[in-house]
Each structure stands twice: as structure tokens, then as C-alpha cells.
Amino acid sequence: MPHNFTVSPDFAPDHMSGWFYFNTWLQRKLGVDIHLELYDTFEQQRMDIRAGKVDMIYANPYDASMLVRELGFKAVVRPVSKRDEAVIVVAADSPIATVEDLGAGTRVATTADPDVDTIGMIMLEPADLDAASVQKHVYNSHVLIAKSLLNGETDVGFVLKQSYDELSDLIRGRLRVLVASQISVVHHALLVGPAMMDRFDELRDLLVAMPKDEKGVGVLESMEIRGWEPMSEEQTEFMIDLIDTLID
């Protein structure tokens, strides 16, 4: 039986092929069969996680909490200097100058990414806004969020900082950042479940050394990840505690 690997379905599809190269590289190095399963939605993925169908996952920090505290997963590594930050953006010509200018009924363009949505909602709190007082419009990508802002269908958009930076100059030039998060301790991580725990040390050492591996370098490039750093159990617990304070 091959092990099952999956990736949090929350980022630009252009990096997806990188995860297939990664999986091929990893199978060779570890000498085990690993099947990469990609999901379109968080709900589908969470159902399979709960059903025990996932042994290794590149998870967003919100799911990491469930994986570690309820399902016995352990974080192996996190990507070097890649943190999960969000920006709230408006159309460049929007009359909104600060978050505090927003009022009840604000139309918020967001994605199903729990990470960005939670950080975005926290940054709206200074305007006395919460889930009950805004109108959420959920889109499938940050490009569609940008379009909805430019078409005047929504007032503000929540976008992963990294995705915002990757928008074309043309689109970014027509948008404006209202506020950017600077949390710096919330990030994705690669975790393994009980079925792969016996490979934990080997996996960590392989991944940490990946930038020095001839083939590994190219794989990392295609994933747009510089390298991996090991995560201690306490680092993982600290991040999960922090996220606990952010969700009600």
C-alpha cells in the first residue's frame, strides 16, 4: 500500500507541478511508494484526513492544529523564510483610506483559505466588523478577487501577501493595500501521520539537506521554496497555541 501525501489547496495552481516533482524526488530518496492526491476544496481534504486517508501533508497552520492535537501528526519541517501573511486590498481609486472607514455591510472578497480569511477578519475588527456584519463573496483565486474589486462588486479583498506580490504590475497598479499583517510566526508545515512516523528522522534530514542535493535544488525552485528548516515539537505547539487565540 503506498502512503498518501497531500497539499493544502490554498495557493496559486502554477506551483502545483512542483509538488509532483517533489513527490517523485522523495519516493526515490526514501525508497517508498507515495501517492500525491490533490484536492479542490478544504472540505473534501479534511474529510479524507479525518477518514485516515492521509499520511503526509503540507498543511496550512489552521489544519496543522487539528492534525497535531487530534490526529497524532507531527511537524517535520517548515519552508525557510516563508510566512503566512495577509493583505487587505481595495481598488486604487476607492474612497476608503483606512480600515476604520469601513462600516456594516462591507462587501468582502475572500477565498476558502482559512488562514487568510482569519487574518483578514482580525484586521477588520478595528472597524467593529465581524462575520455577522460583513457580506462575504468567496472566490476561487486572488486574481478573481482583484477583478471583483476593480469591477466594484466588492469593497475590500483578503489576499495572501505572497499571492498579492505575484500579481502582475498592471493589476497591482490598480489596487491599493489598506493594511498588511506582520505576524511572522504563522506558517505552513510538512507533517507526517502515525503511518509514516518511523521515517520521521530520515525525512527531516533529507529535506533539510535538499538544497545541497543535485536534483533537489531544481525541485525546490519549481515549488518556489528556498529550503526547509526542522521544527521542534515546542515550535509546533507554540504556533498552534497562537492560532487558538485567533479563532473563536
Binding site: V99, M123, E125, P126, D128, V179, Q182, D241, L242, T245
Partner: protein, 153 residues
């Protein structure tokens, strides 16, 4: 700016729960909460600071060296009623999450308002400390809290 931002200065003696006290300069000037940031600290089970992030250091006005090992009441502002902190401690000691609005005292005597969430840190079933994460409060919540705390002192 909050209603309490009058720029007035006074020296007060702060009385802590454990019976200790210290003299502090109070300057009624608000320092605005920085947009987009979270202020994070952790304590041991007794409330002594074990971790402070950069935003915590910047907003408190103390150096990291001064903060680590200090009692978290180093930030206590005399306008905060004791009953608010009793609620905080009773809640987290019973294993629950506490949330509230807190007026904090900086080293320079000025103040800043936060919306704070405090949770117990449980490792292998044991309490090892507490984590507090603060975010920017809304102006209306600050005004509400100022009015409420004035009646509780």
C-alpha cells in the same frame, strides 16, 4: 484618541495583588496600536514573562532583557480595575480562553489599548504556562471599556 488622552502627568503608587507596590509615572497620552501586528507574550504558570515578540518589546518600551523574567504586571495600568485581572486568572486557571480589552502601561508612562486573548499552554496534559496574543481594538470598544472600568475601580 481615547477620552483619557489629556497629556496630564502624575506619579502614582501601584499596588499589586501579591501585596507588593511600585511608584510609576503616568502620562495620559495614548500610543496607537500598530496596524496589522500581533503583540505576543508567554508566561510561566505564575505569570512571569518567558517570551516576548518584537511588537511586544516595541510597544511596551522595555528592552527584551528587562521583560524576560519580569512579572507580567509590569504592564499594569492604574486605570485597570483589579476585578478584570481576577477574571483573567480565574478563567485561564480553569483551563479556559480569556478575552478582554486591556489598557497597558508603557515604561515611559504612556498607555496603549489592546484586545487580548489569553490561553493556557498544555503539554502532555500538563499546564506549562500561558500565551497572550493582542490585536488592535476598535475605537468604540476602547470607549466602552474606559467607561466600564471607571465604574469598577
Amino acid at each position: 484618541m481615547s477620552d483619557q488622552d489629556t497629556g496630564a502627568e502624575r506619579e502614582v503608587t501601584l499596588h499589586y495583588y501579591d501585596g507588593s507596590e511600585r511608584k510609576a509615572l503616568i502620562v495620559d497620552t495614548e500610543v496607537p496600536y500598530p496596524d496589522g501586528k500581533l503583540i505576543v507574550s508567554r508566561t510561566d504558570p505564575q505569570g512571569f514573562i518567558t517570551h516576548a515578540n518584537q511588537a511586544f518589546v516595541d510597544m511596551s518600551g522595555y528592552s527584551r532583557e528587562e521583560l524576560i523574567g519580569a512579572n507580567h504586571n509590569i504592564l499594569r495600568h492604574p486605570d485597570m480595575p483589579a476585578v478584570a485581572f481576577k477574571g483573567l486568572w480565574d478563567t485561564v486557571q480553569s483551563g479556559q480562553k480569556w478575552q478582554g480589552f486591556v489598557k497597558n502601561l508603557r515604561k515611559d508612562g504612556k498607555y496603549y489599548w489592546v484586545k487580548a486573548t489569553v490561553i493556557p499552554n498544555i503539554r502532555q496534559g500538563k499546564l506549562v504556562g500561558y500565551t497572550s496574543v493582542r490585536r488592535k481594538p476598535s475605537r468604540s470598544k476602547i470607549l466602552e471599556s474606559e467607561a466600564l472600568y471607571a465604574t469598577l475601580k
